[in-house]
């Protein structure tokens, strides 16, 4: 019996050192990668950001606010840490991690999504981006808050976290061999060159009008508890002399016209900004952007050229308000 148990233990334990080394190597490769969000996380952890103007938010930040334009107009160092698919709580967590490794920014441009303050706890979007950093307590604390993402086995069973993540393993190997993927973001910004898809909009319109499918379009429930987090964020910025600018980017007018309560979040933000005496740039129905579908690649995201024009508009408003 002892012999059998020894054999089984040997079978199970023997590959662990090898898997551990593999796991370390894959982590290491990805921690040097320049692609996707790894570029942002790596800059963040290596204290390379230290931005004067920090852009926060979810996908509307990532694809609509260009640090290149901000830098050239305002002559500052800006960086976009927008976290695609995130809610406000995740963005706030990310901001706190940012502060642990980088100096405080002078300005924060924070864009909002309609589900930012939704009551239910969502899952993490693109959870792969966290995998190489699971040795960091702050990352583990952040990701553990969200639905069924972090499996304890990810932390203790080497390589298990890379189960079915072959593209990450290949990227890591390529980085370690000096041939990593080319950066597809500039300081966290990734403009999208796609064209307006009228067929997709027709489908959305159909689903909204016939209520045949739950499509998350503007009218989500705002949780007052989650809004409190925004208040503490504002408090923190005030105490640390950070000028926080809230931004509601343009939404396609065709969508605003067919959803039930398109301005709920905008109204809440207006009220919060007023109460806290901070700047709120409301562009939800901006005539220069919202009316023309050719500015968008989908109902809630501007394409690259419109995004860069939009960033310039934001910069001129900041210039005017802060006398920069």
């Amino acid at each position: 019996m002892i012999r059998t148990i020894k054999k089984i233990l040997f079978f199970v334990l023997a590959p662990i050192p090898l898997l551990y080394i593999m796991s370390q190597l894959v982590d290491k490769g990805l921690q040097k990668s320049k692609i996707e969000n790894f570029a942002v996380w790596n800059d963040l952890f290596q204290s390379k950001i230290n931005a004067d103007v920090l852009v926060c938010g979810a996908s509307r930040a990532c694809v609509q606010i260009s640090p290149l334009i901000i830098d050239s107009i305002l002559h500052v160092n800006s960086y976009n840490i927008g976290l695609d698919g995130s809610i406000f709580e995740q963005q706030y967590d990310l901001f706190q991690i940012y502060l642990q490794h980088n100096k405080k920014p002078r300005f924060i441009i924070h864009t909002f999504e309609d589900w930012d303050f939704e009551g239910s706890q969502p899952s993490l979007t693109t959870p792969e981006q966290y995998l190489p950093y699971l040795k960091r307590k702050e990352v583990v604390t952040m990701v553990r808050k969200y639905k069924s993402y972090i499996d304890n086995a990810y932390l203790y069973l080497p390589m298990y976290k890379y189960n079915n993540k072959f593209s990450l393993i290949f990227e890591s190997v390529k980085v370690l061999c000096g041939h990593g993927g080319k950066p597809n973001k500039y300081k966290g910004y990734a403009g999208v060159d796609a064209n307006w898809d009228s067929t997709a909009f027709a489908a959305i319109k159909y689903h909204i009008q016939t209520k045949t499918n739950k499509i998350q379009q503007l009218n989500t429930n705002i949780s007052t508890d989650k809004l409190k987090l925004l208040t503490s964020y504002i408090e923190y910025c005030k105490q640390n002399n950070i000028d926080l600018i809230l931004v509601f980017p343009p939404v396609y007018k065709g969508l605003l016209d067919i959803v039930d309560h398109p301005y709920d979040l905008r109204d809440s933000l207006t009220e919060i900004a007023k109460r806290n005496d901070i700047l709120f740039l409301d562009h939800i129905d901006d005539v220069n952007f919202s009316r023309d579908p050719l500015n968008f690649y989908n109902t809630q995201h501007l394409n690259r050229s419109a995004s860069e024009r939009f960033t310039a508009v934001i910069c001129s408003e900041l210039k005017h308000h802060f006398k920069l």
Partner: protein, 446 residues
């Protein structure tokens, strides 16, 4: 399919009823008394099954039927969850009382051992549906630690896990969405999906069976094999001798055979009738709904057809070269299986019909694809299909070896390094390619 702790009482009820029924049957002197106790036991088991599994379906259909004749029936619907493994352990319990009644098995006097027979954990939730002759004596025997049994059991568990998480669950990633919305996919995609589903259901169920057999084997118990390479079947009749063997033999021993015997005066008609009834009930055993009854009808019809055309088919096969006739028979059987599994897998009959209607467009799509250089399929992720095919080929390779001689024995001929390399290949495949998204076993729902 749910696990609710209070549902253990249902299991407790059938165990107590069948335990005493077994003793009473054995003690009864008159055949009529024995029969009375057997009927009581069967009513208890089938009653539980009907209440929890079939009541709402029967209620719904009777109400609907009466509605056609303007008769209003207002029977309440029951909001009951289906207890996990109900169809399996009630069938296993019934086989005990039937065998005691037939005199093939002595009544078990030890309550604990009888309860263990019904609740033996490796096979409690999804079989194999064991017979008392195979299991009860094993519970009485003393089991000594056997290194061979443990390692062989672990190997079998790993093989089952490989089939489940690397093949079945990977295919599920592709097929689930497509079966949910067949109207969104073209015929060729649906055709490939139907073929993939055959492997999914096989790997899912046989994977579970291997894990059950393996875990029992590590403890020194031998369970019956539930699958005997079903995809090499040259007929639907042969398929049912190789697929879910424990259920097929259960229906054969306890339903088909007695029915044929009691209707023997009707000759061939009795066999046809018994076959149809057996297959319809077997389909209905799988789940509640007309789609399962249709599934059973198709299989019953196919087996009847094969029985009636046996001589003609033999003549045709004889005229063809052996390899060609084998290939044609296997292919036709496989196509038939894929077709009937559409009913099995789809949500309902109308969705199955949508699926089948779209399949009729395949020749046109192939023509279009060649003429206009269009993509033939509209799968979302082709790489998943490539992985699935590679692993299916690996499985087939292993099974080919297993058919000629046991894979265990085959490996034993090789040095330890080779054996370990093979084991690590499968272990690493599970680690790197396994899909661990809490995909339940398909047969758990029955």
């Amino acid at each position: 399919m749910f696990f609710k702790p209070e549902y253990i009482l249902i299991l407790g009820f059938t165990i107590v009823v069948d335990y005493y029924a077994g003793i009473k049957i054995e003690n009864a002197e008159l055949q009529s008394q024995k029969l009375k106790y057997l009927i009581l036991s069967l009513i208890a088991n089938i009653g539980v099954l009907c209440v929890f599994k079939y009541y709402n379906f029967i209620n719904f259909n009777i109400t609907g039927l009466c509605g056609l004749f303007h008769i209003k029936i207002d029977w309440p619907l029951l909001k009951l969850a289906l207890p996990i493994g109900l169809s399996f352990h009630t069938f296993q319990a019934m086989s005990y009382t039937i065998e005691v009644y037939r005199g093939n098995q002595k009544a078990e006097r030890h309550f604990g051992i009888y309860a263990l027979y019904v609740m033996f954990y490796p096979q409690l939730v999804a079989g194999p549906i064991e017979r008392p002759q195979n299991m009860l004596h094993q519970f009485h025997e003393e089991h000594e630690f056997s290194s061979e049994m443990v390692t062989s059991g672990l190997r079998l568990m790993m093989w089952g896990l490989f089939k489940k998480v690397v093949i079945a669950d990977r295919i599920a990633l592709i097929t689930d969405n497509i079966f949910d919305m067949p109207q969104d996919y073209n015929g060729f995609t649906l055709l490939v999906t139907a073929i993939l589903y055959a492997f999914q259901i096989y790997c899912d169920f046989s994977g579970y069976s291997d894990i059950a057999l393996g875990s029992a084997r590590t403890m020194g118990f031998k369970l019956m094999r539930n699958f005997e390479f079903p995809f090499v079947s040259k007929s639907v009749t042969e398929f049912w001798r190789r697929w879910h063997v424990s259920l097929s033999t259960w229906f054969y021993d306890y339903l088909f055979n007695p029915m044929v015997a009691s209707l023997r005066n009707f000759g061939k008609k009795a066999i046809i009738f018994s076959l149809m009834v057996t297959f319809i009930l077997s389909g209905f055993w799988h789940g509640v709904g007309w789609k399962f009854i249709i599934f059973g009808c198709f299989h019953g019809g196919a087996v009847v057809f094969e029985m009636l055309t046996k001589k003609t088919r033999k003549k045709i096969n004889g005229a063809l070269p052996l390899k060609l006739s084998d290939f044609i028979s296997k292919s036709l059987t496989f196509i038939f299986l894929c077709f009937t599994w559409i009913f099995f897998r789809e949500k309902n009959v109308s969705m199955s019909m949508t699926y089948i209607k779209r399949l009729t467009g395949v020749p046109h799509e192939i023509y279009d694809s060649i003429k206009m250089h269009r993509s033939l399929s509209n799968f979302h992720s082709r790489i998943e299909i490539v992985y699935a095919i590679v692993f299916i080929l690996i499985m087939n390779f292993v099974q080919k070896i297993d058919r000629t001689q046991s894979a265990d024995k085959f490996l034993a001929n090789y040095p330890m390094t080779v054996r370990y390399a093979v084991y690590y290949f499968f272990a690493f495949s599970i680690l790197f390619f396994g899909v661990f998204t809490q995909q339940s076993f398909i047969y758990f729902q029955f």
